[in-house]
Symmetry: C2
Subunit: 205 residues, 2 copies
């Protein structure tokens, strides 16, 4: 290396050392250890898949995990096939919904199914044995008023202090965003579907 | 049920039937079957975890999968522990980076590591045996010019037509967004870290 290159490397090292000090100080300020409520919402891709990624992380740590899928539809084949393997090995996996409302076309039945799913979810939120609970597409049932928001926020508030909960679905109600710790809006920049590409196995399915 | 309730049910059924027809027509128009390039970017949570969720879906379909993590840092413990179990069983998992630049503070070494990671990734993108390839945090290396964008877009263009590729990381360059099929910006609505909560196992770790 030339003297100039060595100088540049040294300046890089110093700049990165300052950045490291800054990041380290920020990390040192975050000292609270407790279960968090994560909400993934918005119209973009990645709400459920991110929930399933966190499920994988949680299983990787040996956590006891629970999943309730509030909408089955045709959009859960890959993850269900995959995660079902871990049932009885740290995971309870419930697919409770039957499909989107325009698929079933039967509102009373949809409400019944949503409330049955909520009863399973509420039991998990009340049980300190669960370290991680994923409530996939719960927001859809909240938006339609099939489940009362107050029931959900009460159950979240009363849950075991170290339990993590991930809630997904479009249109997260403001009252849920308010009580959540981390909320992400998945925003569409572009989507293959609009270009005529079918939902793909491994990506959407 | 009263007559009014029966009427309301019927109106719901008709509305949902119209919605179903609309959705069915949209789905019918999306006829193309091919591998897609998915990019998860933005400052919010869920970019990598969504990639790992799609990895789970892909493994659920029996796909041959490859993962290259361009940044190791301390942020990959849970997913690595979990997915390592599938090595040799449909999955090749490579953790190539050493950490964020402010952790290593050695630019030449960071560039070497990024390029070594890219060579592994490029070999996967050239190999029709891989159905699904996750390039986790590749965007970070692109933003820093440790890997040339042109190399990446060329490799994506030349890859097997049915191969899916998911690329994650903040600051996806415009040239990558342009060639991608589906791009999502994960936008922070709120984050637990800002409220003093440490990165949590199963959620971030």
């Amino acid at each position: 290396m030339s003297a100039g290159e060595i100088d540049a490397e040294e300046r890089h090292r110093e700049r990165m050392q300052r950045k490291k000090d800054l990041v380290d100080r920020k990390i040192a300020r975050a000292t609270i250890e407790r279960g968090v409520v994560v909400v993934n919402t918005g119209n973009g891709k990645g709400k459920s898949s991110s929930g399933f990624g966190m499920l994988a992380r949680s299983l990787g740590h040996g956590f006891r995990c629970g999943v309730v899928q509030f909408i089955k539809g045709s959009f859960s084949t890959g993850e269900e096939a995959f995660f079902r393997r871990f049932e009885g090995d740290g995971l309870d996996y419930h697919v409770m919904g039957e499909g989107f409302t325009w698929e079933t076309q039967d509102k009373s039945r949809d409400i019944e199914k949503a409330q049955a799913a909520w009863r399973v979810a509420a039991a998990m939120l009340a049980d300190p044995a669960y370290d991680f609970v994923l409530l996939d597409e719960l927001n859809i049932a909240l938006v339609k008023d099939y489940i009362q928001l107050q029931q959900v926020t009460d159950a979240l508030a009363a849950r075991p202090p170290n339990q993590h909960v991930v809630i997904t679905g479009r249109g997260a109600p403001d009252g849920l965003v308010e009580v959540a710790d981390t909320v992400t809006e998945m925003r569409v920049v572009k989507h293959a579907f609009k270009a005529g590409i079918k939902a793909q196995k491994g990506i959407e399915l």
